[in-house]
């Protein structure tokens, strides 16, 4: 991120017209407040002693958080989502790393095609990809399940993992690999002992990104989940029933906090 360092070199200019700094800062914090408002409302809703969020509030309760552990279908949906996210993010990271190594270290025919295909899921609208996969699975007789959701999530996470790993591989000196091979390492050994350790932080961010992409993905999962719902699909199915809403929101708040912790912790590890 070159932002901060640039800004500090701009210091003298900034002092000359300090007035505008104020205006932009105000705008920034106003928007931040607006962005956090709905999230704050969700949180309030999850500790509110009423099934609708009408003001004035009736009181404070932790019942919803307690109740969520007595709802087996809900817990099952969360577990399904976790499973899909873990497997699809591992697959997307592995495949993305392979594509990134190919693109940064090899010259071959079809390189342009591979680049285009790996990036393409960013461009194809989810509704289109969802029905296309649905058509394929129906055509070849693959029953819908958590696995079909996982396949879709792997495909849509691939551009992110590829780009993240690629950025780190382009950034380091390929002569390190030359050196390793000159010293007698085979190419696979060079990849394992030189390239992977250097790319490890990028692999970690790629995995976290893929995990979060999968974990709350809904548009594809709605088409491709069979009888076993992921959490977003379950949540969507339950929206009609107003009385269960607070429990769902409480679960969602917990999941949101866990995801954020995961992101911040891995970011810490990566920075080290």
């Amino acid at each position: 991120m070159s932002g901060p360092s640039r800004a500090s070199t701009a210091q003298p200019t900034m002092a000359r017209r300090g007035g505008r700094r104020h205006w932009l800062g105000g705008y920034f914090w106003l928007l931040i407040a607006l962005l956090y408002l709905p999230i704050a409302i969700l949180f309030v809703f999850s500790i509110n002693a009423n099934t609708t969020l009408s003001f004035p509030l009736k009181g404070f309760t932790l019942d919803w958080y307690e109740k969520l552990f007595d709802t087996p279908a809900l817990l099952r949906a969360v577990r399904n989502s976790l499973g899909v996210a873990v497997w699809s993010s591992l697959a997307a990271t592995g495949l993305g790393a392979m594509v990134a190594i190919l693109l940064s270290r090899f010259d071959f025919r079809g390189k342009g095609a591979l680049t285009g295909l790996a990036i393409m899921p960013l461009i194809v609208p989810y509704v289109v990809l969802g029905i296309a996969l649905l058509v394929l699975f129906k055509a070849v007789g693959v029953p819908l399940s958590l696995a079909t959701v996982g396949i879709a999530h792997t495909i849509v996470a691939l551009p992110y993992t590829t780009l993240i790993v690629l950025a780190s591989l382009v950034g380091f000196d390929a002569q390190l690999e030359e050196a390793a091979m000159d010293l007698g390492a085979s190419y696979p050994a060079t990849l394992r002992l030189v390239v992977l350790p250097i790319a490890a932080p990028a692999l970690l961010s790629a995995w976290v990104t893929a995990f979060t992409v999968s974990f709350d993905e809904f548009a594809l999962a709605l088409f491709l989940a069979g009888r076993e719902p992921t959490f977003p699909v379950y949540l969507y199915g339950q929206l009609r029933f107003a009385t269960t809403l607070p429990v769902l929101i409480a679960t969602a708040v917990l999941l949101m906090l866990s995801t954020l912790t995961l992101i911040l912790v891995t970011e810490r590890i990566r920075r080290r």
Binding site: G3, F28, Y36, P38, D107, A132
Partner: protein
């Protein structure tokens, strides 16, 4: 670089390249995965759109027909919906980009040492569940929701205002809200590459701050602006979840019609034709956008 040259494919004159085997081990899984689960499904869908109906199995041979496309072209409501969806996406992308620009500008030039932390702060809402953020708006705008109950307890209105939810306005507000943090990223990347000495040069030549912005900073950040616009426009034009939750009947988008043909209406060939139109339109738009911005320029330091 050296390695890349050594592996040069056209000069296959080096059959003894020690990396040859590794190349195939690395290439086969992603190539197979993409062929099976990205290329094949899209081709299947394309083929399906040229089928009369779903009689027989999906793999059976068929006589291709253009009737679904003809029907689509003559169905005014669908065409209108396609146009409206494109317009909605256009509006959402323009609004999100415009609102995100000052945020990126602040982070790039004014936030100082804290910029990295502020950026995380801006992105946290984006990392929280999409479905949930849309839900939050439903809770805010609904008949028994936050805004209505506040207005009523303040005595401003007696009856809840129903017009807040389940219309196109609610869809647009929700989507703009969802995409603002994301739109700030490419703009920030472009602004980060602007040489701040140009600001000083402009100031030395007596440019007012506004002139300096309009003549120097804005043109230099334009690739980021276009990238931000596209990055919001593409997912928005295919959106069907947000309209499903907050759009009601007047807020439906083209994506909802496609979804309907695969769920309730169950006319897959026609739905495939609708989806093909969306796919081709989106890809064409991205091609035009990539002409305007060279994405590599954004990634370079």
């Amino acid at each position: 670089m050296i390695l890349a040259r050594r592996a040069g494919a056209p000069q296959g004159a080096r059959p003894a390249d020690p990396r040859r085997r590794t190349f195939w081990i690395l290439a086969l899984p992603p190539a197979l995965g993409l062929a099976l689960f990205l290329v094949a499904p899209l081709l299947f869908m394309a083929a399906l759109s040229f089928r009369t109906d779903l009689s027989g199995t999906l793999l059976a041979p068929f006589a291709p027909t253009l009737k679904h496309y003809a029907q689509l072209a003559s169905t005014a409501p669908f065409l209108r919906s396609l146009g409206l969806s494109a317009l909605t996406a256009l509006g959402v992308a323009a609004a999100a980009t415009a609102l995100a620009y000052p945020l990126a500008y602040y982070l790039a030039f004014r936030a100082g040492r804290r910029a990295a932390f502020y950026l995380v702060l801006l992105l946290v809402p984006f990392w929280t569940s999409y479905l949930l953020r849309v839900m939050a708006w439903k809770l805010m705008l609904g008949g028994e929701g936050v805004i209505n109950s506040l207005l009523m307890s303040a005595g401003i209105v007696d009856e809840p205002i129903a017009a807040l939810l389940y219309n196109r306005g609610a869809v647009i507000v929700t989507l703009v809200y969802v995409w603002i943090p994301f739109a700030a990223l490419p703009i920030l990347a472009a602004l980060g590459r602007v040489d701040v000495r140009l600001h000083d040069a402009a100031a030395d030549l007596y440019a007012t701050p506004f002139q300096q912005f309009r003549r120097v900073t804005l043109p230099l950040s334009l690739p980021g602006v276009i990238a931000a616009f596209l990055m919001v426009f593409i997912p928005t034009v295919g959106e069907y979840v947000t309209p499903l939750l907050v759009g009601g009947t007047s807020g439906t988008m083209y994506g909802n019609i496609i979804q309907d043909f695969f769920t309730r209406a169950a006319n897959w060939p026609y739905g495939s034709a609708l989806a093909m139109v969306m796919l081709v339109g989106t890809v064409a738009l991205v091609a035009v956008g990539l002409r305007l911005v060279n994405p590599r320029r954004l990634l370079e330091r």
